[in-house]
Symmetry: D2
Subunit: 294 residues, 4 copies
Amino acid sequence: MTVSDLISQPLETIVDEIGGIYEHSPWVVETLFLKKETSKITTVSELAAGLKLIVNGASDDKKLKLLQAHPDLCEKVEAMKLLTVESQEEQSKSGLQSMKGEELDKFKSMNESYRAKFNFPFVLAVRNASKSTVLSALEGRLKNSSSQQEFMVALDQVHNIAWMRLLSKVNTDDAAGFLTCHVLDTASGIPAKKMKIVLTRLTPNESAGIIGEFVTNDDGRIEGGPALKGKDFIVGTYEWTFYAGDYFASRGQSMNGTPFLDIIPLRFGIDNPDDHYHVPLLVSPWGFSTYRGS
Amino acid sequence: MTVSDLISQPLETIVDEIGGIYEHSPWVVETLFLKKETSKITTVSELAAGLKLIVNGASDDKKLKLLQAHPDLCEKVEAMKLLTVESQEEQSKSGLQSMKGEELDKFKSMNESYRAKFNFPFVLAVRNASKSTVLSALEGRLKNSSSQQEFMVALDQVHNIAWMRLLSKVNTDDAAGFLTCHVLDTASGIPAKKMKIVLTRLTPNESAGIIGEFVTNDDGRIEGGPALKGKDFIVGTYEWTFYAGDYFASRGQSMNGTPFLDIIPLRFGIDNPDDHYHVPLLVSPWGFSTYRGS
Amino acid sequence: MTVSDLISQPLETIVDEIGGIYEHSPWVVETLFLKKETSKITTVSELAAGLKLIVNGASDDKKLKLLQAHPDLCEKVEAMKLLTVESQEEQSKSGLQSMKGEELDKFKSMNESYRAKFNFPFVLAVRNASKSTVLSALEGRLKNSSSQQEFMVALDQVHNIAWMRLLSKVNTDDAAGFLTCHVLDTASGIPAKKMKIVLTRLTPNESAGIIGEFVTNDDGRIEGGPALKGKDFIVGTYEWTFYAGDYFASRGQSMNGTPFLDIIPLRFGIDNPDDHYHVPLLVSPWGFSTYRGS
Amino acid sequence: MTVSDLISQPLETIVDEIGGIYEHSPWVVETLFLKKETSKITTVSELAAGLKLIVNGASDDKKLKLLQAHPDLCEKVEAMKLLTVESQEEQSKSGLQSMKGEELDKFKSMNESYRAKFNFPFVLAVRNASKSTVLSALEGRLKNSSSQQEFMVALDQVHNIAWMRLLSKVNTDDAAGFLTCHVLDTASGIPAKKMKIVLTRLTPNESAGIIGEFVTNDDGRIEGGPALKGKDFIVGTYEWTFYAGDYFASRGQSMNGTPFLDIIPLRFGIDNPDDHYHVPLLVSPWGFSTYRGS
């Protein structure tokens, strides 16, 4: 079901479908769709943004209730242990359920302190988070001296969870997002021509693998448009592999026997199927940089 | 045998040991050691630099002869085909000997054109070079419009080959080189504290594997000195793995469910056992850069 | 009066001296100094951090009152018009009082909308802010969809104002902060040796001027320690001038008649007399970067 | 006279016009125009590239003669002293003629050593070079251990001189070059919208001044095309001024009273009227980078 399909349904159906993306809080979806402006929504980003505005515009009390509606992470972990191994995997790749002894005690104690300090449970968008991410986040955020700031941080996670749930509910094969690249040779101040680049998808696991092999054109870009678009432009983790050493060798550039930079892996995530991700490489034989461009 | 051991030998022994690092040109080593200043040499870099100066100071004619003394890459490849598979592997990881048909014809033709154009064989330091590196280099350098410039490029490769051969002749376990890291959070303008970093050696194969796991201190550096030094500081290819996502999560920084940057692999080569390699990471949730620092 | 002098005074004197740095809110200073831990405070940063914690730990209601205690920016601007030109200058360099007609109307209207939307006046640390900064900030922050987030932003400004006021109350001539530099040649992967660098102070006006001329050493750093420290390490705006073109010319690097990079000005601000400011330059003939390092 | 006008002239006229751009070496221009392919030349870059190929393809002996045809810099400086002040300025902004005493002696001595070592005079494209640039270049290049490499460096300067002379001979008002900008907020991973940018020309003096004031659009670019093109796209030195502080203030970003980055000057040179100069800014509140893009 696309976003357009979804929003043309009666309110009841919409709430049935996506009312649960904000935990136990169908009012978020209801409030948005009781307004008239939803007809302008055509993409999943716009839908998410609309819902986010409803939450942000709600009273402090309502936001707090939304936060408090989230399950306690410790209890969730305990519950997970009762599930089959397969179900555990579906629930979480974080490996939290494998904690034991001292580590588990520390986790429980921090989790309790967090709730006591801030008056809401620790919320983290955990789908791809590892155990170390969860522990780092909990330990770091527990130290936040400003409860208002931590409230904002937690709400941000609530929005992330809602976003990931929403993405799993709608079909975004026709979304407008795409991936491009550009390689600049910063030692010579020119586009890096004829550099080989390989694009690999790392997650989600079921569609992981090499996606394509490209060669940069005279402007340092991939010929013939985006490296990824349409239904292949899947939310997940990717890696460019740049054959920078070959490029510098072809220019006769002075290089070491073991070059400082040769094959350069560059790992990045795509989170929004509606967005343009421009992920360039600025490279000399002695350094490189990258950034989310546009 | 360390460099100090080597240079205390009689000239004859020295030439026996390292006279061949410049192809069929023992005069390079002889000339250097007939001078008095060699007593100041204590490191492999100083020895290599001394030999390089001898070559650079020689007449154009002598340099040309040195270049011409190198075997033809095509003939070398043909010869390799006669060897056992094992020996081929020892000789080269480049896979050049696997070329067939059109690819082989193109390679041969370019190789011939190169020699005809520049009057010396195509020289490339191939130890870790792949077939695509060799072909890229040959194709690119064949186009060089200045034969003087190509002469310089080729000579640079001759020095690289000599350097790699020299490294295999002397023991550098006590060399002064070491590896350090520094992580800066450019979104917040502060050192990135408590970021997990893993260091892995990728090549040489026989000593590949995870070397260590570190956590940055309050200054964003690895506590307790270099990540690598002494006999572990081996010429080869390495990879830092930075757990940047965990770091940003611990700061409560707004992040996507699928963060743009999470686990960041950073691959780099160490070529000189005498040098300090400072390989830092400047990182925000939306971009990073690195460079060979000091 | 140094921070040590200050905190050794009776509470009454301390409140007399710095009680007003948080607008009409001497309770912040009082609360801190009624605690025992203040004896550990030795620097102005620690003092400011202690006060900030008091504010962040206060109830939402108390924080709101603190925000509301700030004067309305519009009224402040009107009042300023009644002052002599000299006093106006002392009050603000922002030129807000020069607004007229449509611009003034827009400012007033945005200012009113802001207060109506968020229930507290628009607060911005204006000492060195220009009119365009104030207008940009007001226009941008008025659009904030989350009143909690804007509350945090406003509180952040309150802390900035308190910090600037505190700095003007205490003597920081002996503070530990200092300024260092490092120049790396990213085209060659080496420290940039013998590059000329000039350091100029731009503000405050009364101590503006060239501070020193330096030449980088073999490690690309300024010889003999910090470029600035002690009583010369004044909060203000500075500019490095890097003679990068001369450096590349000395290396015989291929450069254009009109080089892309030649003399590179790099402007930055120092806000904290206790901090180490490391402001490096990573430069190739075709690009450069800088960052607040450590 | 445009390049098209020029190349449609009889050979004699062409040589009269531009035969002198390579010092005392009209054979370069003659050789090119005796070939048939010159009809394909339409731009000044193509003309310069064609001439460069002739030189690079000439014998070593001919190249050496070309180098040796250049006047000795010392003698040139002595001769300049006999000119009026006005003429001196026309000849050179480098201030070389103001050298006296020890400085002059050192210059003369290095200049002599250079010629003795390499067998050709020290050549540097000096139009905008300062005295310190000349001295840095001379001192650095004198140390070059490879005379072949120094030969290449010197030849590169010869090409630069020819290029600058050629530019002064032909009209490039219709050249295709243009200047663009792009501002990315690397702290937030988005284009920097509504940032004010001022473009100023610094040299040549006669057309120096503010060129325009721009505001970035939603994609972080300057609306309505290039900031500079056509006859305004003059070879010279420029400066972007980015109002980064105002931009961050409008986003409510946490900033210091004295921000680390506020107004950012970015100085760069344009050397080729046929080229696209993309000069972007990647900026967070704590660092920035720029590069010659495409």
